[in-house]
Symmetry: C2
Subunit: 345 residues, 2 copies
Amino acid sequence: MEKGKYGEHRVLQPSNGCLPQAAWKIDNTPEILSNEILIDADILNITSTAFNALKRRNNGDKERIKAEILAIVAERGKFQCPDTGSGGMLVGRIEKIGEDLLGKVDLVEGETIATMVSLTLTPLFLQEITEIDVDTDQVFVKGKAILFESGIYAKMSPHLSKALCLAAMDVAGAPGWTAKYVHAGDKVVVIGTGKAGLLCLHEAKKRAGNTGLVIAIDSSEAQCQLVRDAGVADHVLCMNAQDNLAVMREVDRLTNGTLADFVVNTVNTDSTEMSSILSCKDHGKALFFSMSTVFSKVALGCEGVGKEMTLLVGTGYTKGHAEIVYQILLENDVIRSYFERVYGG
Amino acid sequence: MEKGKYGEHRVLQPSNGCLPQAAWKIDNTPEILSNEILIDADILNITSTAFNALKRRNNGDKERIKAEILAIVAERGKFQCPDTGSGGMLVGRIEKIGEDLLGKVDLVEGETIATMVSLTLTPLFLQEITEIDVDTDQVFVKGKAILFESGIYAKMSPHLSKALCLAAMDVAGAPGWTAKYVHAGDKVVVIGTGKAGLLCLHEAKKRAGNTGLVIAIDSSEAQCQLVRDAGVADHVLCMNAQDNLAVMREVDRLTNGTLADFVVNTVNTDSTEMSSILSCKDHGKALFFSMSTVFSKVALGCEGVGKEMTLLVGTGYTKGHAEIVYQILLENDVIRSYFERVYGG
């Protein structure tokens, strides 16, 4: 097969022309074609979904977890949890840039990057697993990985620790898109104030500005207090976002009946879709980040209440998202301290 | 409970304040509050999903199907298939408009409308089922229904038969949104050329105009021929939309490598999400109409190929969608004949 920008040339099984993510087995030969980048892999950041499955299957035994990861990668040429289908990302140094990409990518050999595409589509060749940190789901390795022409990556910030950069990047899509969708004077609702939600709030407050209005919603009083301390919302509602009608009534009250121009939902529990829709004005925009979002609940729910809205599927990537999230951590001491406390400084 | 625009005052079970669609039982008393509209119900257009389940449970026996529909509505105050959760819509005459809505809705008493909100949230009181048409999934009734303040509806076209209006309205959201998203000169891909896809194609061709480019994709040669006869595409690709990479290559070729500005997906089979994403250019828009769309496949798939796109959830309603779809049927003889042939003239 001709070499493709999506790495389709590395698919080994099935043979009917799928992409690497959908493939069962990909070619992990650690030698690059002219449109690929070779990475000296350092850390695998396994998703918590996949890492919990690994721990469960191996009773938390580090050596058994190591052995299973090595077996998966040897069999499939990539890391993908057999139970959940989930992967993660990796950190490493640029070892070699294919000749077709020289001058087209803003990378130099030796530079440290994190891949922003999933491990489930990244060719990976492991020589050894040196250590596993079961608290942070990080797997330290010796090995090589391949980044395709379409592969996205982020550089580390020179002003922040590697651990902080990684934790921030993991949710950088949400504040990145928020930065692009929020305009001066907008009324914004952020549902969920965890890692992603806090970053969205900071960005919403900054972009909507003093003529805008930002409302944060979370069921945890501790998270609500964090939002207040961080100074990133005009109003903080401590309530369950599954209580769709109550959320609507509160947002209606705080916006004097206009409802929000833009609503971003970052809650990882079910049945919060309608809180986004009911909080948003007609012709407003609602952005969904949670993987627990159900497509038909959004589509049919919006139709059921007779609203005309722009309903957006959020993705983990938008151009400049890493730079946006690093800037937030430099600007907001409370949010940075929170990330350092939870994810290590 | 105070009367609400979404009919929340009619929810009987559960009692914790959900919306009528999520409710188990709603109050179907056929007397309106001042912010409601009473409809003399005539035809229930059950979704094919729900009607197939009714037929299966009752071995296709009309009398048993009738009895089950009456039992469901008596128990729950609305029609909702117990297996699939699916409903439908209804046709009837405006009997009475609540005083709060007089002058606010463009309706007069006696006028025939179709409700555009689901039967799963519409209070329904049935006196009798007079007939069932098992070919068109239509249930002829004597009864009353309630339209809430937020409820949307469409009028019949004076130029088209009622059957045609109903069949068209069922999928009117797709061409309605297509009309709004396609601009002069756009390159458009429509995946799936069934009822919704054909209407989208006509609209795409009209809005993109002679400086645009419209590509239709369907695996059925008969549907492809219909597209050619209707004159609504510049290129027709007869291929399986699950073959994501092949779709990308063909669209790439036909657009001279630029890919599409806008892709609308109307295919009701799984694993076609990536065909939309791969056919669309960076910063383009992809609109998903199929209820078989999987949220995480869209979000993670787009991220996996490193694209920045506007990913839109399509809904069955957008302002003016009925007028747009009636106009298509008046403008395009081939599409109108197809609808008449399949859904009755």
